[in-house]
Symmetry: C2
Subunit: 330 residues, 2 copies
């Protein structure tokens, strides 16, 4: 009991909820099987076995438990949420033409884009089957709405990419869609399955939303400010893909004509060869630090939402998780 206490908040959460998370892992393995098409579990297992922190299913399980749930349906919801996430990762890697994910080659590289598209579709469909099994129309409404919002956010990101006139408002809508919607639905559905009172449901939904925004802003920080091997993807991916993220949007707003021409050439015309120069410009305008401060503001909103819930160990661990999310940018 005294040896090697896990340190990171998501590891402490996973330890506190270990039997639930083992049930989630077992359900994921069972439900990703396909008698007819062995390619499906191959591709899915590649991504699932690469680990990932399983933050989203952890949120669902934690939300349900801290609302006093003692049933089994939260396990199905957690697996649903992870399936939706895995499906979007498969499709994202096709869309972004990525080569690396979670420190390993992407599925589209190991197999092909076709497999990534179709296996993603299968996982989406399986996720809906799982949520139907819970028998709750309200939960179906939350999760199917989140799936639509995610896709909308991804399309908006696609059309905003390679457009240096993209505004902070558009950026926030992309972030809310592609990331925060599922964090929010993960928390909210856990509270709903537990039959929590409405003010607790909305507190957890607000927590998930703010945590997701904070998480994505830091991810975007890491793409310029992080160390490539620590984040399991290539540093500068967003730069090369012409994505307009917060540090860049702010830097463009503050820059002169020479810098504007640099961003135009790099992000719109795709001549994104000089990452060092991009980083130097961000440093000159201090926009990486501004981005971190913005993420901290969202972290604070997340923690404020938690205070609308009764005190409990799980609640405090969720607060620590919010701290950890922004502490990745140091």
């Amino acid at each position: 009991m005294t040896e090697a206490t896990p340190i990171k908040p998501h590891e402490r959460l996973a330890a506190a909820l270990s039997s639930d998370m083992e049930a989630v892992a077992a359900l994921i393995t069972t439900r990703m099987a396909s008698e007819n098409a062995p390619r499906i579990p191959e591709v899915t297992a590649h991504l699932v076995s690469a680990g990932g922190k399983r933050v989203r299913p952890l949120l669902t399980v934690a939300a349900a438990r801290l609302c006093g749930y003692d049933g089994e349906d939260h396990v199905k919801l957690a697996a649903t949420v992870e399936f939706i996430h895995t499906a979007t990762l498969l499709h994202d890697d096709v869309v972004d033409e990525s080569n690396q994910r979670r420190g390993r080659p992407t599925a589209n590289l190991l197999w092909d884009n076709q497999s990534s598209v179709l296996v993603g579709d299968y996982l989406f469909a399986r996720s809906f089957q799982l949520m139907v099994e819970t028998g709750s129309l309200r939960i179906l409404d939350i999760l199917s709405g989140a799936a639509a919002t995610i896709a909308e956010g991804e399309v908006l990101q696609l059309t905003a990419a390679r457009n240096i006139a993209t505004t902070e408002d558009t950026y926030l809508r992309v972030v809310r869609g592609k990331t925060a919607a599922l964090f929010q639905a993960a928390c909210e559905s856990g509270a709903v399955v537990a039959g929590a009172p409405e003010d607790h449901v909305s507190a957890l939904a607000d927590f998930g939303d703010a945590l997701g925004v904070s998480f994505q802003i830091i991810d975007d920080w890491l793409d310029y400010g992080g160390a490539g091997d620590a984040i399991g993807k290539d540093l500068g991916d967003d730069f090369r893909e012409g994505k307009l993220t917060l540090p860049v949007i702010r830097a463009i707003a503050k820059g002169d004509d020479v810098e504007w021409a640099f961003w135009k050439d790099a992000l719109e015309r795709g001549n994104a060869t000089d990452l060092d120069r991009a980083r130097a410009i961000l440093a000159r305008h201090d926009t990486l630090e501004e981005t971190r401060v913005e993420a901290i503001a969202w972290r604070d909103r997340a923690k404020a939402a938690l205070r609308r819930l009764p005190q409990s160990d799980l609640r405090d661990m969720l607060g620590d998780l919010a701290d950890y999310v922004v502490a990745r940018a140091l």
Copy 2:
């Protein structure tokens, strides 16, 4: 009233159900909108406005009405079914790298693969939202199961492509998945929403399944036996994509070593330049005609299933539709 009677069965069905189908069209337009991402309705409208016969939503509406339904939820189900179909078309065109669909350039050609993948995801999610609105867990189970079966069939088709050892059994599983599952779910969900007795529900499910198999077998016939401009896609697409369809599987089984080498080179190695020779081989072994006979057998199963339902005009029109499906191969 006496002028220009529509001739084709799906046109007669559409005329008999015109107010329902107008409501379906209006709902599709409303629900494919997206405030955040204008690219979504653009891409969807391109495909939707290209027409298509809307066979699947017609089946849902017809099934509900012939079971005596007088509510409104069948319109939502029909739009759901069409959204699922449209989403799979968008993803199929990416997977197949197609250039033409319904006689027009494909969305992946006009926009890009990314848009097709993500807009397809959006339509999937919207379809689930629509079916949740019906409030029927049984219907959610039917349609989410169909979506999983479709994706499974597509993955199986992908792994079976470029493998000339593919069996008729695998072929049939692909057809059941990629085509018949949605025909079946379209019919079955229409019957369920109408509160039809179980023997009528299963009769309509069996009808949809057999109609779908028949439809796909004829589609595969048309790819070798049809005229390109009449089918709205390029003749020989399956040949060039290395798909193992029934006429080819049968011809390979009957062929000699020289022919085997031809198929190996064309379908597995991708040297599919000589469509005329492929057609000549199919003709020599009479496998296009065998394929047509197989489709007729499925058509007969579809019509036998209809006889388990009370006689009505709609039922007879569905029977005529089954005849029409196979009559495309003449």
